[in-house]
Amino acid sequence: MTAAIAGIGQTEFSKDSGRSELQLAVEAVYAAIVDAGLRPADIDGMVTFFEDTSSEIAIAKSIGIPELRWTARTPFGGGGSAATVQVASAAVESGMVIAVVIYRAFNERSGRRFGQPRERREVIPSSMSPYMPFGLDTPAKIYALWFERYMYQYGVTNEDLGRYVVIARRHAATNPAAWFFGQPITLEDHQASRWIVEPILRKLDCCQESDGGVALVVTTMDRAKDLPQVPVRVAAATQSHLDSGDVLFNYHHADIAQFPEARSVGNQLWKSAGIGPADIDVALIYENFTPVVFLQLEAFGFCRPGEAKDFIADGQIGMQGSLPVNTHGGLLGEAYIHGVNNLLEGVRQIRGTAANQVEGAAHALVAAGRSGAILARVN
């Protein structure tokens, strides 16, 4: 691929931003444009999530971007967060546009909270009728029914999950942008946090609910090389949506003690980038809930099925391990900006500017389950 990430921008991450979602989007997008050393008029494309409430035109109008010639939105929520890079890269590589801004901004804590139970009288999509009436009224419950089988099949305990959380919070504790900056936890703290879905998920296994906005500028490598920031090459980016799978209710694969979509994303990324798991220096792994880190470590081939708990217990995902994971604190520790903040951390790692920098990081994996990207340093 010949696309590159030339700029990143973000607002502060909070529990109550005190301003509109549109303003968060505008602030983040403008910060990314400035970071890239560009002017608003240099941007001619925008990509965001299907669910984002801020219109491309409203953002462009407010910032002074005179004309957009490419817009696209990615489905599947956070699982599609890395797909935004695939879509933006395709746009600039096609030559149809020069510079695309990816954005995601919301008041997900002070506004509509994803984690709250659905109301009985809320009208659900008919596609959720086989699931939600049976009591699956929160993401934690929906996902726990999948995780339960994984944990049973491989003997993973909630304490095993806690060992990931301790590391994520340790990373957040030294990242000044993280909501949980300066607040590391112990395994005892994790085990003392209240059950959300007993005996699968405790409160500290759940991602935060956050207010904030983030953005990235994607352009061609040729152009990025002339801009002020160290260019970050998009070495590969792809998605996987399998016919026996589902975004929320991923219960219908023959074996659900694994994450087949993530496995396919990994296989495609390795093939496309011409590298393998051993070449990855740092991994930013989407975790709405802790078990998806375990499932993805296994799906991407960093360890074998059922062995993520040992990989983590052995210290492999800490800053001194063989694969530092979620060096910004992840969605548990930094903030839940729907996974797009993981892309920004990948960029910082390749630039060499992360708060918790992996020395000489040349390849960063951004894994979002059903989408993924490999970001690479230019030699």
Binding site: Q116, P117, R118, R120, R121, E122, V123, I124, P125, S126, S127, M128, S129, P130, Y131, M132, P133, F134, G135, L136, D137, T138, K141, A144, L145, W146, E148, R149, Y152, R194, W195, I196, V197, E198, I200, K203, D243, F249, Y251, H252, I256
Partner: protein, 127 residues
């Protein structure tokens, strides 16, 4: 407190069946492939023609959770993934049982319960 299913042309037959205490599985008329959840076309042979097969109601627990929410909001039920003997996996609830009686592969049998105005297919432990 049950979230009501949204019923439209894609699934009205299923919920009508449930209201009459039948658990119906969509079956391709051309190749006999069963599909759940419902879909317009058979992914195996691309036929748009389908009928239904009534489930025997026998199945086994594949996984389970208790849907108790810590704030007491929402539902608190035993939610299960059930492997029906027809080879289809569905979400349902186990009723008249305690959480500590649950185990993987336990045999289940179908029943129906009505909560307020919503009838759902539910399961009992085979004792």
């Amino acid at each position: 407190m049950v979230i009501q299913p949204s019923i439209d042309r894609s699934n009205d037959w299923f919920w009508e069946g449930v209201n009459e205490h039948h658990l119906l599985i969509q079956r391709c008329s051309s190749c006999g492939n069963l599909r759940y959840p419902a879909a317009p076309m058979c992914g195996a042979c691309q036929s748009l023609e389908w009928d239904t097969q009534e489930a025997t109601g026998r199945g086994r627990i594949h996984s389970w959770i208790v849907s108790h929410h810590p704030t007491g909001q929402g539902d608190s039920r035993i939610v299960v993934l059930v492997d029906l003997e027809e080879g289809v996996r569905i979400v349902s609830n186990v009723v008249d049982a305690e959480y500590d009686e649950m185990d993987h592969e336990l045999p289940l049998e179908l029943t129906f319960r009505t909560y307020d105005d919503v009838t759902l297919p539910q399961f009992l432990l085979v004792r």
